[in-house]
Symmetry: C2
Subunit: 227 residues, 2 copies
Amino acid sequence: MTSSSLTAAQLAAYIDHTLLAPHAVPADIERLCQEAIQYNFAAVCIHPCHLPQAVQLLQKHPTRIGTVVGFPFGTNTTEIKAAEARQAIDQGAQEIDMVVNLSAALTNNQQYLARDISAVLAPCRAANPTVTLKIILETAVLPTDVKIMLCKLGADLAVDYLKTSTGLHPAGGATLEDVALLYQHRGSCKVKAAGGIRTADQARAMIQAGASRIGTSAGVTIVTTCN
Amino acid sequence: MTSSSLTAAQLAAYIDHTLLAPHAVPADIERLCQEAIQYNFAAVCIHPCHLPQAVQLLQKHPTRIGTVVGFPFGTNTTEIKAAEARQAIDQGAQEIDMVVNLSAALTNNQQYLARDISAVLAPCRAANPTVTLKIILETAVLPTDVKIMLCKLGADLAVDYLKTSTGLHPAGGATLEDVALLYQHRGSCKVKAAGGIRTADQARAMIQAGASRIGTSAGVTIVTTCN
């Protein structure tokens, strides 16, 4: 079966149902979680302040609960990123999407990057069951050699996913070329495509290019309009 | 003297010279700090990961060193915001610009807001000398009654500044109307205008409307082109 034949239910299993608008209120989170239950999305992805509500709403459902660390800029200190991850895991997060430090990436400061990622990875791995870690590269603002360096670093550290984008940078989100590049250099990691994916055709193309997860706020549209 | 007659040097004393691009590298921070020294800006405003560098560069200069907490969404937990503030102050930050929790603001959850702001205010007030706290309202996404509620809360808690905007929300930055509104309800606080201020005329108009501080990435343009 190719990705072009994925049904709505099969597509849903790829989707991180995402709501990261800063002005989302509890009623929005409730709707998001109800949609996740209705359509069996892989996960929800929400801000830390909404985590307790989502954990309660999804406690009897297999949809996984994801939150963000160092989001959306990756410019928090390593200690704060680690503290964010620890608190999120304590509160019930099963997946963490963290933004790498772009300043360190652009200056090839691999020591900083490795320490920064490892500090978040450690509590993910210490959890039982372990927590999924996705590192967000913000591919739209990085030259190719930096993207490849980050892929290799993620693969060496054995994070779970290499993720293209926050979905919030003005420079843009996921492209098929970037998904293919991350897939090529993924090592044992998987690839998550995020940013600008609004239709079933786009989602299928991202999966065809190598994505194992799709981050989108248009999950309901995608699964209810796909043919 | 009215604000319309402010000279370049007088305008500079109002300006938080700001660089919050996520991909700013150390060379960018060095240039920012050199400009702050050259033009005597009131403060620099940078991401936490660049704080040690800025502290070193500005150690013999009166320009104050500011960083951000819960930026740009305000959706971190209260505990993380407090930890961010404590670490920033430990590392030499003299000013903190924190984003309030918009979900709590929009649902009139004043108890959450008061606890969230107080948790950041406490380490600011415990520092010696005390650290300036500015709370960012993101006025462009809030109805008027919510803006007024936040002003009153900030005034009751005696934060130092009520700040209009992160400067990064697609809905927009500071408006003269919002600066005037914050000024009207400021209590003993001052007002900082930020977001979209690119010219000396705009800066002077914001000051005329009540702003005591201008957050902008166009500080050099403003002071070198003002007549």
